[in-house]
Symmetry: C2
Subunit: 332 residues, 2 copies
């Protein structure tokens, strides 16, 4: 049986290190081939190990109690807090001799980006980007990149993001020739802001990318492309506004069900929660680094940590994370 | 009884001039105080006048058969087609002695913007912007501006849009001190792309605007602000991606209802269609011109034309278009 090693940063989650530790314990129970390096308060891990029946032969602990918060400057945080759990986790996952599959953290996005520059840059010094792989209307997945790691981008950066997103969809979702599109305000090649107009010919000319042109916001997640490229500002708007709309509609139906005393409408709510539950699929994926880093959402529960652990193992083993068929079955 | 005069451009709609004419006939029947100048094929109007029982004493016809399409350059279209219905309509609505309340067109957005520069600029030569007034999660309305008229913007333009949006919400929706927010990738004042960071202090310092700070995409339409300011690229993404998500969820429920043979789920669909039917509220509103221009969507039906006619009359009379109470009742 092949073995997989991953690093989990216990700190930085809104729900506290206990929840992340619980998620790690579920992963290690479910996967006998998994080895986890936990970076966080050693005392807490030792206190909980019996209660969680942790198999300590497959767990390594790196003690850490310091964090870099969302409220501090990511650069100074990374430089001035060498004992922060995120810094220790990144140094650990970067050790080539350890051969880790990747790491999971719920820490500050800015600090993850800065830390990845400092400790996990690849040989080309690629600027990492944050991808979100989202369920689309065609029953498969679309990789949205960048979702907010780089707010103001150059056309060269968008070109790099297109390649990184394309590689991810090949490797993680087994799509042979991923269709790459540019987010724009119109489908025609003449539409777009300065950045989009400058990037369009660059993507058109790169024969290693299967560029299919511009896609508008209403089709961002319709399944017309496998990779949707945009700057971090626009990507953040797409990610958050579609999620905001889904939440609002679900809330509306809950209110309607109560007000009209129609409990059967809650079945629609259950269905939508399953279909549009982005968090269950894991968080953002940092691309362009030597080791894959998955940022769990700040409010991730133990199931999310378990799911992300599986994603890392699948990525390392070359197995597809979800096939279209699996997704269709999950929705039926 | 006070009289109101409006101009309706019959051409440019995906559904053809017959549908726009039908909408105009509904408006004139419902509102004895309304006078309409129809700009379009005279032969068609005369052919249909008996069938539609048009009161010709309140209708003026300006014959036009030429249009500026979405596929031609808006600037050359406006300059080289003096007989286009849009050009004739704009010249007509601009006649001060006629005292029009405004105009309706389903024509090309680019041509509307160009034509408004040429024929309807105000004394300050304000750059017009396209606003969308959208139902928000708090049961009232949020004015999103710009939604795509100016794709790349300066901070000075965003400042102008903030004032125009604020004026609209005061005049058309009777909000005393509209809360103005900037669309950003985080709520903190330090978040944003270059444009947002540059605009933030300008809006903060303008005492005539009730600036409440940054709003993220997930709260774009939650009702935290009355006016949401952004460049046309980002506004287009918010407008289209939220609409795309709403349509997708509604389609999903229709499929679920059929597949599971649960016809009662269609009541949820009916409710959502009513709540999220943006088109029934009219189209985009061009602000910053001497006369208000409402762009009906290309696929507007006759009810949309009727609703927009009412909006123009309300705007002229100083009556609120929709009160919060009316909206709440409409949803019950």
């Amino acid at each position: 049986m092949e073995q997989y090693k991953i690093v989990i940063d216990l700190l930085g989650s809104d729900k506290g290190p206990e929840t992340v530790l619980l998620g790690a314990s579920l992963a290690i129970k479910e996967h006998p081939e998994l080895f986890i390096t936990l970076v966080g308060p050693e005392a807490l891990i030792l206190e909980k190990k019996d209660e969680l029946s942790l198999d300590m032969s497959r767990i390594k602990i790196i003690n850490a109690s310091e964090t870099i918060t969302n409220y501090e400057n990511p650069y100074t945080g990374i430089m001035n807090k060498p004992q922060a759990s995120l810094v220790l986790a990144m140094k650990e996952v970067g050790k080539e001799e350890e051969n880790y599959a990747g790491m999971i953290t719920a820490g500050s996005s800015g600090a993850i980006l800065m830390g990845s520059f400092r400790f996990l840059s690849d040989e080309n010094k690629t600027r990492p980007c944050m991808a979100a792989v989202l369920p689309n209307g065609a029953g498969s997945f679309t990789c949205l990149v960048d979702t907010g790691a780089t707010i103001d981008c150059t056309s060269g950066q968008l070109h790099a993001f297109a390649k990184l997103g394309s590689d991810l969809m090949k490797k993680m979702y087994h799509i042979d020739n991923p269709r790459v599109a540019l987010l724009s305000n119109g489908a025609e090649p003449t539409k777009g802001n300065h950045l989009v107009k400058e990037t369009f010919p660059i993507l058109s000319e790169d024969k290693e990318i299967n560029f299919v042109g511009n896609v508008e916001g209403n089709n961002a997640l319709s399944g017309d492309c496998d990779v949707l490229v945009c700057d971090g500002f626009a990507g953040n708007q797409i990610l958050k506004s579609t999620e905001g709309m889904a939440k609002r509609i679900i809330t509306d139906i809950v209110v309607l069900s109560k007000k009209k005393n129609r409990p059967e409408f809650m079945e629609v709510v259950q269905y939508l929660m399953k279909t549009y539950d982005i968090s269950a699929l894991g968080g953002g994926i940092l691309l362009g680094t030597r080791k894959i880093i998955i940022k769990a959402r700040g409010n991730s529960d133990e199931r999310a940590i378990l799911n992300i652990s599986k994603m890392l193992m699948n990525h390392a083993s070359g197995e597809a994370v979800f096939s279209n068929k699996e997704r269709q079955e999950a929705l039926n």
